[in-house]
Amino acid sequence: MSDGCDTHRLLLQAELDGELEAGRAAELAAHVEGCAACAGLRTRLQALQARTQAALPFHAAPPALRARIAAQLTPARPAAAPSPRRRRRGALGFGLGAAMAAGLALVVLPRSGAPDRGAEILASHIRALQPGHLVDVLASDRHTVKPWFDGKLDFAVPVRDLAGFGYPLVGGRLEYVGGRPVAALVYRRDQHEVQVFAWREDAPQSPPVAERRSGYAMLRWAEDGMVYWAISDIPLEELTGFVERFRTAR
């Protein structure tokens, strides 16, 4: 079995791949007419190419992966709340404050048509738990973490020191949610990670609203032009306490 003339086999391959310009193609054709080895190789290469094209699978992205990534790339819709855009600080709407105080867990379904931020936050949290994915800046000192974000985000990141309450800071990470860069703050509670995602968004003030997804407790709230999500696998009651500390600490 011959491989064709050494000098011509790459040209034969280029011709097969449509990469041979016209001038050289004519030269090659003239050569092949007089060279059985090359003529044979050309035939075998063509046959191999056809079989390879038929046999090699193309692995399209599974729908779940595509959906997750599409959610990450979906820009946030502008806030379209019919009620006044800002509530007085401290005003609690819809009786949620009372429910929270009573320790009830609420499961809030996303408004139909709105991107499911909760699903994005959950996916980001789970990804971050993989080895090596947790933090971009590893520092238990907020005076290190806060300036680290300064060069990367165009808003101030409120990094709270909660070590005194049993939630030492692990570090921070740049994340993408709704097509925008956001801050992820990582705290630890015993063997569990508690993450706070924070970004600037002109949303109406909203006290913490709870949900549970896939075994994770989540709380979201909005104040002073920022949106926050807290997520952890610690019990919701504990995460509620964490969020209260976070919101009142300075």
Binding site: M1, D3, R9, L10, Q13, A14, D17, E19, R44, L45, L48, Q49, R51, T52, Q53, A54, A55, L56, P57, F58, H59, A60, A61, P62, L65, R66, R68, I69, A70, Q72, L73, P75, R127, Q130, G132, G151, K152, L153, D154, L174, Y176, G179, R180, P181
Partner: protein, 175 residues
């Protein structure tokens, strides 16, 4: 046209880039599967690569996005392989039965491929040969784009393609 200043804070994702990522997501996943051979790891690497692409949005000059994205996917896949210390092994015992592939990896195909067919034979090729052949045959990429994705000169791409095809021809694989 530059999107954002790479040295400054990352801009919001340009819609054109978001669309380009989604349009080429299948190719990205396909390359990850071919390089890593494990569906779960491949999905994770694609996710990783998308995040890297968003962080480097400032580096995309609005040109052909498929080659740009696949280069990022390839780097993410190779980082993962390096972190493991080795490629993810082929699943069946034929791989374990292969002689040490270092001296002549192409020749070592012979035992495996006759039993399992052309797709398996390609999957058994060394990474650089496998990816070149796959990008040319399945993705129908030009030599120039393959060179951009793999970071080698066009001549090297041609040589790798030739070695992949010669190995398959020598082994007389039945489809």
């Amino acid at each position: 046209m530059a999107f954002g200043d790479p040295a400054g804070p990352p801009a919001e994702i340009p819609p054109a880039l978001a669309a380009a990522i989604l349009e080429n997501l299948d190719s990205a996943h396909n390359l990850a599967r071919w390089l890593l051979r494990d569906p779960v790891v491949a999905e994770d690497v694609v996710q990783d690569a998308v995040l890297r692409a968003l962080r480097h949005a400032g580096g995309w000059r609005g040109g052909e996005p498929r080659a740009w994205l696949l280069r990022i996917v390839r780097n993410a896949a190779l980082d993962r392989i390096a972190a493991r210390g080795r490629e993810i092994p082929l699943e069946d015992d034929a791989a374990a039965a292969l002689p040490d592939p270092a001296p002549d990896p192409e020749a070592a195909l012979a035992a495996r491929q006759t039993r399992h067919g052309l797709a398996a034979a390609v999957a058994a090729l060394p990474l650089e040969l496998r990816e070149a052949l796959m990008l040319r045959t399945v993705e129908e990429m030009s030599y120039r784009d393959i060179a951009a994705v793999t970071g080698v000169p066009i001549g090297t791409v041609m040589s790798r393609l030739w070695r992949a095809r010669a190995a398959l021809l020598r082994a007389k694989v039945e489809a």
